[in-house]
C-alpha cells in the first residue's frame, strides 16, 4: 500500500509541524508514505470564494502528482472533503478523476483503514476537541449533533489511545467556528464573533489545548485568542497522536 | 390562455426531473400505554387530561375545573349544565363571552396530545372563541401517532375539522411562553369509557 502525503498550502507555510507529525506517525505505523514535490493547494480557497473554475488546473495537477498511490492522506479535513466531493465535478470531461476515491483525512485513514489500536505516546493534558464542520458533516469524523443517529467520534477513539489525554468537548459541540475560507475576510465581523464565542466555549471546558483535524479552524481561533490575549494552546490531533515520536 | 392553463402548461414544460411516490411504510412510534402517553403529552402542551371514573359525572367535573364559569355552551345532550347551545345562535359572534365550551373529540393522538374534532356544531367558532374548552374523548379512540390518526379520520358534512393540542399559546414576545393567545386559555380533555 503506497500513500501519497498531501500537505495543504497553509499547513506547509504555517503549521509544517503538522505535516511532520503526520509523516512520522504513518512511518511509525509501517506505512509506505511518500511526499511528492510540486504539490501546492487543493483549490478550496478559490472555490469557496466563488471561483471554482480557477481550481480546475490545480485539480488536474493534483491528479497527476498523486497518480499511482493507493491513498492520498492529508492532515486537513476540509481539504480532504473538498477533493472528495468536488474533484469529480470539476474534472468532468477534462481529466479522469481518481483522487476523489483515494483521498482521506489522516484521522479517517488512521481510524478506518489502518484501524489503529495502539499508540506509543503520552500527552498528559486536557484537550477540547474542535469538531470542524467539513470533518463532521462531509467526512463523517463524528456524528453531527443535528442528526438522530448513534453517537460516534473517530477523534475521541483515536485520542483515547494516547496515555494521559483527557478529552472534553465544548457546548454546541459542532457549531461552526466562523473561518469558512474567504468568509473570514468577506464577513470579518460575523466570522470573528463566531470565532470568539467558539473560543470561549472551548476555554470554558478548562482545557489546556484546543485540538482538531483542521488547522484552518485552529488558525482562525488562534488568531482571535492571540488578539484577545486568551491563554490556550492549539494543536492538531495528529500531533497528539504522534506524541513521543 | 387563461392563468390556470398558462401555469399548468409552464409546469409541464419546465419539469426537469421525475420522481416516484415513495412507499410510506414507516415504523412509527408506538407506546406500551398510549393512554398514559396521551395524558402526559396533554399536560406537556399545557392542557389537563382527566380519566373519568365510573362514579364521576362529567357535569360535576366541568364545574370543578371551572367553578367560576357562567356561560357554558354545548350541543351535547349529556352536558346538562350547558347554559347555551351553539346550534341555535343567530350568528357566530354571539358565542363571544362563552366561558366554557364542551365539545366532542373523535380521535386522540398519543405522540402529541392532539384531539381530532370534526365539526359537529353549527358554528365552528365554538371551538376557538371560548375562554376554556372541554373535550370529551373516548379512551378507545386514542391512537399512537399521526399516521394512525390520518388513516381513520372522518369529516362531517360541515367540511371542517381540526386537531387541537392543548390551549392556544404564543412565545412571540421574547420567547416567553404565554398560554392563552387568541383562543382557549385552557383545555381539559375528559377521557371516557376507560376500563
Amino acid at each position: 500500500m503506497r500513500i501519497g502525503l498531501f500537505v495543504p498550502c497553509y499547513v506547509d507555510a504555517v503549521f509544517p509541524e503538522v505535516g511532520v507529525a503526520t509523516y512520522k506517525l504513518l512511518k511509525y505505523l509501517g506505512v509506505n508514505v511518500d511526499y511528492p514535490m510540486q504539490q501546492t493547494c487543493c483549490g478550496q480557497p478559490m472555490a469557496n470564494a466563488g471561483f471554482e473554475q480557477k481550481a480546475v488546473p490545480l485539480a488536474a495537477h493534483f491528479e497527476d502528482i498523486f497518480q499511482g498511490y493507493d491513498y492520498v492522506v492529508a492532515p486537513s479535513a476540509s481539504c480532504a472533503a473538498f477533493v472528495k466531493l468536488n474533484y469529480p465535478r470539476l474534472l468532468e470531461g477534462k481529466h479522469v478523476c481518481q483522487t476523489s476515491d483515494k483521498m482521506m483525512d489522516v484521522c479517517e485513514f488512521l481510524h478506518d483503514v489502518l484501524k489503529v489500536e495502539k499508540l506509543p505516546g503520552v500527552f498528559p493534558h486536557k484537550v477540547s476537541i474542535h469538531n470542524s464542520c467539513h470533518g463532521v458533516r462531509e467526512l463523517h469524523l463524528s456524528s453531527p449533533s443535528e442528526l438522530n443517529i448513534p453517537r460516534f467520534s473517530k477523534m475521541r477513539d483515536l485520542l483515547s489511545l494516547v496515555e494521559g489525554v483527557t478529552v472534553v468537548e465544548p457546548e454546541r459541540v459542532d457549531e461552526c467556528c466562523g473561518f469558512g475560507g474567504m468568509f473570514s475576510i468577506e464577513e470579518p465581523e460575523v466570522s470573528v464573533q463566531m470565532g470568539t464565542e467558539k473560543l470561549d466555549s472551548h476555554i470554558a471546558t478548562g482545557a489546556e489545548y484546543i485540538t482538531g483535524p483542521d488547522s484552518s479552524c485552529l488558525m482562525h481561533l488562534q488568531g482571535i485568542a492571540r488578539r484577545q490575549n486568551k491563554p490556550i494552546e492549539f494543536i492538531h490531533v495528529v500531533q497528539i497522536l504522534a506524541a513521543g515520536l | 390562455m387563461n392563468s390556470k392553463e398558462s401555469i399548468l402548461s409552464n409546469i409541464r414544460k419546465n419539469s426537469c426531473a421525475d420522481y416516484e411516490m415513495p412507499d410510506i411504510a414507516v415504523a412509527a412510534v408506538r407506546y406500551d400505554d398510549s393512554l398514559q402517553q396521551f395524558i402526559d403529552m396533554t399536560k406537556t402542551v399545557g392542557g389537563n387530561a382527566h380519566v373519568v371514573q365510573v362514579d364521576e359525572d362529567i357535569n360535576d367535573l366541568i364545574r370543578s375545573y371551572y367553578p367560576e364559569a357562567v356561560n357554558i355552551v354545548s350541543n351535547l345532550p349529556e352536558v346538562t349544565i350547558a347554559t347555551g347551545n351553539p346550534d341555535v345562535v343567530a350568528k357566530p359572534q354571539d358565542l363571544d363571552g362563552t366561558d366554557v365550551a364542551v365539545v366532542r373529540g373523535e380521535i386522540g393522538v398519543a405522540e402529541n396530545g392532539c384531539v381530532w374534532i370534526p365539526q359537529a356544531v353549527k358554528e365552528k367558532a365554538v371551538y376557538f372563541i371560548a375562554e376554556y374548552l372541554v373535550i370529551l374523548l373516548s379512551a378507545d379512540k386514542i391512537v399512537n401517532n399521526m399516521h394512525e390518526a390520518y388513516d381513520m379520520l372522518q369529516f362531517s358534512d360541515y367540511g371542517f375539522g381540526t386537531f387541537i393540542s392543548g390551549p392556544s399559546k404564543t412565545a412571540d414576545i421574547e420567547q416567553a411562553l404565554v398560554v392563552g393567545a387568541q383562543s382557549a386559555c385552557g383545555v381539559t380533555v375528559l377521557i371516557l369509557n376507560h376500563r
Binding site: 506547509d12 | 419546465n14 386537531f163 383562543s183
Partner: protein, 455 residues
C-alpha cells in the same frame, strides 16, 4: 470586500447585548428541535420520506394541482389561479370588493409578504389586520418580520410594552409578556368580531380531498375564519401534497422542526365554506413553475417554511433577519432571493460559512449549502462577485499553479512576521479586524522535506 449583508451584520453586532440576546433566543429553538427529534427513532426516516414525497409531488405538480383544484371545487370552494403577485393581489381585492368587505383579518402568510398584499390592499382602502401576535406587533411598528416563524424574535418586551402603550392604551411601564398578550387578545378579539373577511395562508393543500390545512399555535387562523362570512386562502402552488398518508409525515415533522413542539396547537382542515358563506383559494405561481426548470435549484420547492435552517445557521443568529436584503433570511432565504432575482439579492450569498448544518435540520432535506455554493460560483458571470475576491483567487491560482513561485513565497513569507504592526494591521487587512495574523514558519514543510529534515 464587503456586501450589504456584511455591513448590516457589522452594525447589528455592534450592539453586543442585542446580538447576544438574539443568538441565545434562536439557539434555544434549535435545542428544542434537537430534543424532540431525538425522541423519535424514526426521525431520519421521516425526513427522507418527506423529501421523497415532495420530490415526487413537485415533479408531478400539474397533476396534483388539477386534482386539488377539482376536489376543492367539488366541495363548493372557488379556486382562482394567479400567475404572479400582481394577479394574486388583484384577485384578492376583487373578491373583497364583490362582498363589500372593508376589514380583513389575516393569519400569517409568507406568500402574502412575497406579494406585498397588505400595502396593496391598504392603498385601496381595506383595513388589513395581522392577527398573529408577532406579525401584529410588527404591523403596528410598521416594520417587516425578521424571521419566518418567529417574526418578532428580535424584539425585547420593553419595546412591545412601549408600543402597546402608544397604540393600544396598555398600562405604562408594564412589559410582562403575559399581560401584553392579554392586551393583544382583547384588541384582536374585537378585530375578529368586526371583520368582514378572513385570509389565511396554507401550510398544505391535500390533492386527494381538496383540504386546505393551516397550522397555528394561537388559533388566529381559526378565529379569522369562524366569524366573518368570507374565507380567502393564499396558497403557493408548491404547497400541494398528494394525500393524508403524506400529510401525516409532514405534520409530524413541521412543528418539531420549527419550534420544537410535537404539534402546533391547531392543525385545521378547511374543506368547505361555512353554510351560507364563501371560501376561495388563490393558487399562486409567481415564479415557482419557472424554478422547476432549474436543475440545481428546483428542490427549494420542497420547502415547508419551517425556519429550522435559520435557527441553526450560525451566520443568521449573529446577523439577524434585517441584515439580509430578501424578505426571507437565512439559508433558504439566500436561495429563494437568488431565484427571485440574482442581481437584486446577491448580497446575501456572502452570509454563509458553508458549515452545512442547515442541510441536516431541513425536514425536507433540501441541499441548502450546496445550492449556496453553486450561487457563489455564478456571481462573477453576473458581475456580482467582489472584485477583491476575484483578484485574490486569480493570484492564488497563479501562485499555486507555479510551484517555483509558491516555494519562493514560502521562503519569504516569514518576513511578514517581522513587519511593523502599523503596516500589517491597517484598514485593508480584513483578517486583522479582530485576529492576529498567523506566524509563517521559518522553514516550510516542503523546504524541510527537500533538505531531508523530515524523517
Amino acid at each position: 470586500m464587503s456586501t450589504k449583508h456584511t455591513k448590516a451584520a457589522s452594525a447589528f453586532l455592534s450592539n453586543k447585548s442585542r446580538a447576544q440576546f438574539l443568538n441565545q433566543s434562536i439557539w434555544y429553538v434549535r435545542e428544542k428541535r434537537d430534543k424532540v427529534a431525538m425522541q423519535l427513532a424514526e426521525w431520519e426516516e421521516l425526513r427522507e420520506l418527506s423529501s421523497s414525497i415532495k420530490r415526487h409531488t413537485v415533479t408531478h405538480l400539474d397533476t396534483y394541482l388539477e386534482q386539488f383544484a377539482s376536489r376543492a371545487e367539488a366541495n363548493g370552494v372557488i379556486v382562482h389561479w394567479a400567475k404572479d403577485a400582481d394577479e394574486h393581489n388583484k384577485i384578492v381585492y376583487d373578491i373583497l370588493q364583490q362582498h363589500g368587505a372593508k376589514k380583513l383579518v389575516k393569519s400569517k402568510s409568507m406568500l402574502t409578504e412575497e406579494c406585498h398584499l397588505n400595502n396593496y390592499l391598504i392603498n385601496k382602502g381595506i383595513d388589513v389586520v395581522e392577527t398573529d401576535l408577532g406579525e401584529r406587533i410588527l404591523q403596528l411598528m410598521q416594520v417587516a418580520p425578521s424571521h419566518i416563524v418567529m417574526p418578532a424574535i428580535h424584539l425585547k418586551r420593553q419595546q412591545v410594552g412601549k408600543l402597546f402603550e402608544d397604540k393600544l392604551g396598555s398600562e405604562p411601564g408594564n412589559s410582562d409578556p403575559t399581560y401584553l398578550t392579554r392586551v393583544a387578545r382583547l384588541h384582536l378579539r374585537n378585530e375578529f368580531m368586526t371583520a368582514d373577511a378572513g385570509l389565511t395562508g396554507a401550510n398544505f393543500g391535500v390533492a386527494a380531498t381538496g383540504d386546505v390545512v393551516v397550522c397555528t399555535n394561537e388559533g388566529n387562523a381559526d378565529m379569522s375564519t369562524s366569524l366573518p362570512p368570507l374565507h380567502i386562502v393564499s396558497m403557493g402552488i408548491e404547497k400541494v401534497i398528494p394525500d393524508y398518508r403524506s400529510l401525516a409525515v409532514f405534520t409530524r415533522l413541521l412543528a418539531r422542526s420549527a419550534t420544537g413542539q410535537p404539534s402546533t396547537t391547531y392543525t385545521s382542515h378547511f374543506r368547505k365554506a361555512r353554510p351560507g358563506c364563501e371560501m376561495h383559494i388563490v393558487l399562486v405561481d409567481n415564479g415557482r413553475s419557472d424554478i422547476l426548470a432549474n436543475p440545481q435549484h428546483w428542490e427549494t420547492l420542497k420547502c415547508l417554511r419551517c425556519g429550522a435552517c435559520m435557527n441553526t445557521c450560525p451566520v443568521y443568529r449573529r446577523s439577524g433577519g434585517y441584515s439580509y436584503t430578501y424578505f426571507i433570511p437565512g439559508p433558504i432565504g439566500i436561495n429563494l432571493g437568488m431565484l427571485r432575482s440574482p442581481r437584486a439579492y446577491s448580497d446575501n450569498v456572502s452570509a454563509c460559512s458553508l458549515c452545512c448544518s442547515c442541510d441536516n435540520v431541513c425536514p425536507a432535506k433540501i441541499n441548502l449549502s450546496e445550492q449556496i455554493y453553486s450561487w457563489r460560483q455564478g456571481l462573477d458571470a453576473i458581475h456580482k462577485a467582489d472584485p477583491m475576491k476575484k483578484i485574490i483567487s486569480s493570484g492564488l491560482k497563479y501562485l499555486y499553479g507555479h510551484p517555483t513561485f509558491y516555494y519562493m513565497g514560502l521562503k519569504y513569507a516569514p518576513l511578514i512576521n517581522r513587519l511593523p504592526r502599523n503596516i500589517l494591521y491597517n484598514r485593508l487587512n480584513a483578517w486583522g479586524k479582530g485576529r492576529e495574523l498567523p506566524t509563517f514558519a521559518r522553514k516550510s514543510f516542503s523546504e524541510m522535506w527537500k533538505k531531508g529534515i523530515v524523517r
